[in-house]
C-alpha cells in the first residue's frame, strides 16, 4: 500500500472522491479503476444493467465492503485508508468508526430493526454512536419522522407498517445520524407500485428543500431524469457515460448507453 500517496482535496473540492477504485470478488472485477467525484449538494443517479457494479459502489462507500485498490475520500479525508508516514494504509475499524457517520444508507429491503418501534429505530444510533441524550435523540427523530410523514406511526413496530412506510422510517433513521451524503440503493424496488410515490416524494423534498448530497441507484428512469443533477451510466464496473439528465437521456453518445436506454424504455 505504500505506493499510494494521499491526494490533497482542496477546500470546496468534491465531497466524495473515488480515485482509481477497484473491487473484485476472486477473479470477478466488479469495480474497475473507478473514478467518480460527487460535489456538495449534488444529486447523482446511477443507472446501468444488472451486475454492472451499482450496488457495489454504494457498499464500498458505506464501508460494508473493503476495496482492493485505489482510495475513497470523503470530505477531503481518505475514508478507506488512513495516513501512515507519507503514504496510506488500510483504515482500521477505529478509524472508520470516527468517519462512517458522515455517510448514511437506505437499503432496498429497508432493514428496519423489527424488535424496535419506528421511533426506537431512529434514536438507537444517535444515542449510542453520537452520544445524544434520549430527549435530544427523540426530538431529532420526531422531526425527521414528521419530515417523512410518519410521526403518527412512531410507536408502531415495522411488522405493522406497509413497505412504503417502512422505507420512509428507514430514510428518517439514516437522516438521524446527520450524514453528509445519503446513499439510496433501489429504495423503491421492493415496494408495491401504489406506495412508490410516497417514497419518491420524500426523496424529492430532501433534494429540493434540504439540498442533501445524495447518490441514488435506480431503475426508475423518469424519476432519475426529473431529480438528478447528473446521471452516471455504469457498465462492467466503470462509468461508460455520464452527464446531465437531458444529455444522457436525449442524446446518449455511448453505444452501450443507447442499447440500455432502448431496452429499459421499451420495457416500460
Amino acid at each position: 500500500m505504500d505506493t499510494i500517496h494521499p491526494q490533497k482535496i482542496a477546500q470546496g473540492g468534491p465531497l466524495v472522491r473515488f480515485a482509481d477504485v477497484t473491487k473484485s470478488y476472486g477473479d470477478l472485477t466488479v469495480l474497475d479503476r473507478l473514478n467518480l467525484d460527487i460535489e456538495q449538494n449534488e444529486m447523482v443517479s446511477i443507472i446501468g444493467p444488472s451486475g454492472s457494479g451499482k450496488t457495489t459502489v454504494l457498499r464500498v462507500l458505506m464501508t460494508l465492503e473493503t476495496i482492493n485498490d485505489g482510495v475513497i475520500y470523503v470530505d477531503g479525508e481518505p475514508l478507506t485508508h488512513m495516513p501512515k508516514g507519507t503514504g496510506l494504509e488500510f483504515a482500521s475499524e477505529k478509524y472508520l468508526r470516527d468517519r462512517r457517520s458522515k455517510i448514511g444508507m437506505v437499503f432496498q429491503q429497508f432493514n428496519l430493526f423489527p424488535h424496535m418501534t419506528a421511533l426506537q429505530n431512529c434514536v438507537e444510533a444517535p444515542m449510542k454512536v453520537l452520544g445524544l441524550s434520549r430527549d435530544q435523540a427523540e426530538d431529532r427523530a420526531l422531526d425527521l419522522l414528521k419530515l417523512v410523514g410518519m410521526e403518527e406511526k412512531k410507536d408502531h413496530h415495522p411488522s405493522r407498517l406497509s413497505g412504503g412506510q417502512q422505507q420512509r422510517v428507514a430514510i428518517a433513521r439514516a437522516l438521524a445520524m446527520r450524514p453528509k451524503v445519503m446513499l439510496l440503493d433501489e429504495v423503491t424496488s421492493a415496494l408495491d407500485p401504489e406506495v412508490i410515490g410516497e417514497v419518491l416524494n420524500v426523496i424529492r423534498s430532501l433534494n429540493s428543500e434540504h439540498s442533501l448530497t445524495m447518490i441514488m441507484v435506480t431503475h426508475q428512469m423518469g424519476f432519475a431524469r426529473e431529480i438528478s443533477d447528473r446521471v452516471c451510466f455504469f457498465y462492467e464496473g466503470k462509468i461508460a457515460e455520464q452527464g446531465t439528465p437531458d444529455q444522457l437521456f436525449d442524446d446518449p453518445q455511448n453505444e452501450r448507453t443507447k442499447q440500455f436506454l432502448h431496452a429499459v424504455l421499451d420495457a416500460n
Binding site: 432493514n111 438507537e124 411488522s159
Partner: protein
C-alpha cells in the same frame, strides 16, 4: 398403609428431595446458559483460537454420554486431586453437557438473523458489540426460545441422574423410601407425579410466557 398415610409419612421427605432437584436444575440451567452464549459466540468467530476450542467442546460433550461425564467428574477428578460434592458434580456435568447443546441453538439463532440487519447496524456506525447487544441478540430470542424450552425440560428430567452419585435429590429420596418400605408403586408413582408437576405446571408455562414476551417485543403478537 393407605396412600394417604403414605403421603403423610413420606411426602415431606420427597418434597425436600424435590427441592434439591430444583436447586440442581436452576444452577445447571444458569451454567448451561452462560456456556451456551459463550461457546455459541465463539463458534461463530472467524478467529480459529476461539472457534477451534468451541467446536471441540461442543463435539465432545454432545458426542459422549451424560452419565459417563457425570461419573468422570465425580469419581475420576478426585484421582487428579479435585474432589467435588455430589451437588457440584451434578450441576457441573449437567451444565457442561446441556451447554454444548445450547451453544448450537445460540449459533443457529444468531445465524438466522438476516445479513441486512448487520449491515443496517454497521451503516449506522454501531460498534460490533453494540450491533450484537442491541440489534442481533434481541432478535434471536423468539427463534431460540422454543428449542431452549425443550432443552430446559430435558435438563429437568436429566437431573434424576445425580441420584446415582448420591446427591439427595427427588430420585435419591424415592429410592431410599422404596428400599425401606417396598412400596414401589406409591413411591415411584408419587415421584413421577412430582416431576410431572414441576415440568408441566411450573416450568413449561413459565417458558411459554417468556416466548410470548419475546414475540411481543418484536411486535409479532
Amino acid at each position: 398403609m393407605s396412600y394417604w398415610e403414605f403421603l403423610a409419612e413420606y411426602l415431606p421427605k420427597l418434597a425436600s428431595g424435590a427441592l434439591m432437584t430444583i436447586g440442581v436444575m436452576i444452577c445447571a440451567t444458569l451454567l448451561a446458559a452462560a456456556i451456551s452464549i459463550l461457546f455459541g459466540l465463539m463458534r461463530l468467530s472467524r478467529n480459529w483460537a476461539f472457534q477451534g476450542p468451541a467446536t471441540v467442546y461442543i463435539e465432545f460433550f454432545r458426542g459422549t454420554s451424560l452419565l459417563v461425564q457425570l461419573y468422570w467428574i465425580y469419581y475420576v477428578l478426585p484421582l487428579m486431586g479435585l474432589t467435588l460434592t455430589p451437588f457440584v458434580s451434578g450441576v457441573l456435568a449437567l451444565g457442561l453437557n446441556f451447554g454444548a447443546y445450547g451453544a448450537e441453538i445460540v449459533r443457529g439463532g444468531i445465524q438466522s438473523v438476516p445479513r441486512g440487519q448487520w449491515e443496517a447496524a454497521r451503516a449506522l456506525n454501531l460498534s460490533v458489540s453494540q450491533q450484537m447487544r442491541s440489534i442481533i441478540i434481541p432478535q434471536t430470542f423468539p427463534i431460540v426460545l422454543p428449542p431452549v424450552a425443550n432443552l430446559t425440560v430435558e435438563l429437568l428430567k436429566a437431573t434424576a441422574l445425580v441420584a446415582l452419585i448420591s446427591a439427595v435429590d427427588l430420585m435419591f429420596v424415592a429410592k431410599q423410601i422404596n428400599a425401606t418400605t417396598w412400596l414401589s408403586a406409591q413411591t415411584f408413582g408419587t415421584a413421577l407425579l412430582i416431576y410431572y408437576v414441576m415440568a408441566r405446571i411450573a416450568l413449561i408455562p413459565f417458558l411459554r410466557w417468556l416466548e410470548v414476551l419475546a414475540a411481543r417485543k418484536v411486535g409479532k403478537a
